[in-house]
Amino acid sequence: MEVVKLYWNLHYGNKGQVFSLDAVIAIFLVMVVLISAFFMVNKENEENYELLQQFNLASDLFTVLDVNGKLDSLNKNSIKTSVENILPKNFDYSFRLECENKIIESNRSVSSTLVKGERIVVTNNLDLCIVRYGVWPK
């Protein structure tokens, strides 16, 4: 027993081991906290970037359609085809075109989308409309 005590240098108690163990646990805990923090911050940023991406994608999509006169027909199927030709396949969409005398709506309601955009549209026949839209991942 004396030999073992001497071997472990426990003549003055086991303070060194406790402090070492304490340091290792502390480092471990700090690492856990740091990793969790980075993970959570990244996750939050990812969600935000997704929202921004969806918003920008939808805005760009309907700007392109408007500027190229693809909304001028005021025809639901024609607009849907134009949207589907541009929008990446892994995204779904909805829109509602509210004109003075006519409302055109895609199958899904715009209110179900998380981030909505809207723009004013004047067609080549000078119909005045507001298009509300949104896109989201399928």
Binding site: A37, M40, V41, E118, R119, V122, T123
Partner: protein
């Protein structure tokens, strides 16, 4: 000694707990700030899209109804009939458009734009306008002379002859006129110009005084006003309305914007 060690241990735990709390606070704040920034960005972008689309709509109305064709480059050209018979149609469409936007958003298009339909060549600060849109006078008024000369091209259905073009004094004005049956005449480097038909009836009067160009037509003509060889001011040439063309007021987000509308 044992008491001191215990105190150090307690202090150690306290510091570790504080670090945890600190991290938790940082993460919590980061969440909040990040979400707020994203919301702010989306609101900014929404207003920007509405601003741009309102201007795009104005351009569509202008292109369809104003009867004015604009070509821009180092020389800027405005072509229209004088007097411009589209005045009432344009004014009505602009008023209707403003009412439509107003019914949904706090966005106002200054409908008084259509009174003289002033168009500014920026950044050169040259104003092309009508004394009264629909009337028979066009003026071009530069703040400074930052172009080479004016060139006015007139097309009329009257017959012209060898004495139709009458240019007076020397100046920075060139005029060409085309009449019925392939008749034409021209004058260059003048300051004042009169166009007569073959029966000596005055058709058009063009004058440059203090660098201001005035075109006054007695009959219906097609006129192209060229502002030739604009100085290179290092910026792209834009044609815009007055600076009060568009007013956006989203007080709920603290936005207020008064700006010109880019026409070309």
């Amino acid at each position: 000694m044992a008491k001191i060690k215990g105190m150090f241990l307690t202090l150690g735990f306290f510091i570790v707990v504080m670090i945890f709390l600190g991290f938790a606070l940082i993460i919590s704040n980061s969440f909040k700030t990040s979400r707020e920034r994203v919301s702010d960005y989306i609101v900014f972008e929404k207003v920007k899209v509405l601003d741009e689309s309102t201007q795009e709509g104005f351009r569509n109305i202008f292109d369809s109804v104003s009867g004015i064709t604009i070509v821009k480059g180092s020389t800027v050209s405005f072509t229209e009939e004088l007097p411009n018979s589209n005045d009432v149609h344009f004014k009505n469409n602009l008023t209707n458009y403003n009412g439509f936007i107003n019914s949904s958003y706090n966005i106002n298009i200054n409908t008084s734009l259509s009174e003289n339909l002033a168009l500014w060549i920026r950044p050169h600060d040259i104003k092309y306008y009508h004394v009264d849109f629909g009337d028979d006078i066009i003026r071009v008024q530069p703040r400074t002379l930052n172009f080479n000369k004016y060139k006015v091209d007139i097309i009329t259905d009257k017959v012209l002859d060898g004495t139709s073009c009458s240019g007076i004094s020397s100046g920075k004005l060139d005029v060409t006129a085309k009449g019925a049956g392939g008749t034409s005449c021209s004058s260059s480097s003048i300051a004042r110009f009169r166009l007569y038909d073959n029966a000596d009836v005055l058709l058009v009067y063009v004058n440059v005084s203090n660098d201001v160009l005035t075109i006054d037509s007695e009959i219906k003509i097609n006129v192209t006003t060229n502002i030739v060889s604009l100085n290179d001011l290092g910026k792209e040439v834009d044609i815009k309305t007055d600076d009060t063309g568009l007013i956006i007021n989203f007080s709920e987000y603290g936005f207020f914007k008064k700006s010109a509308i880019r026409v070309v």
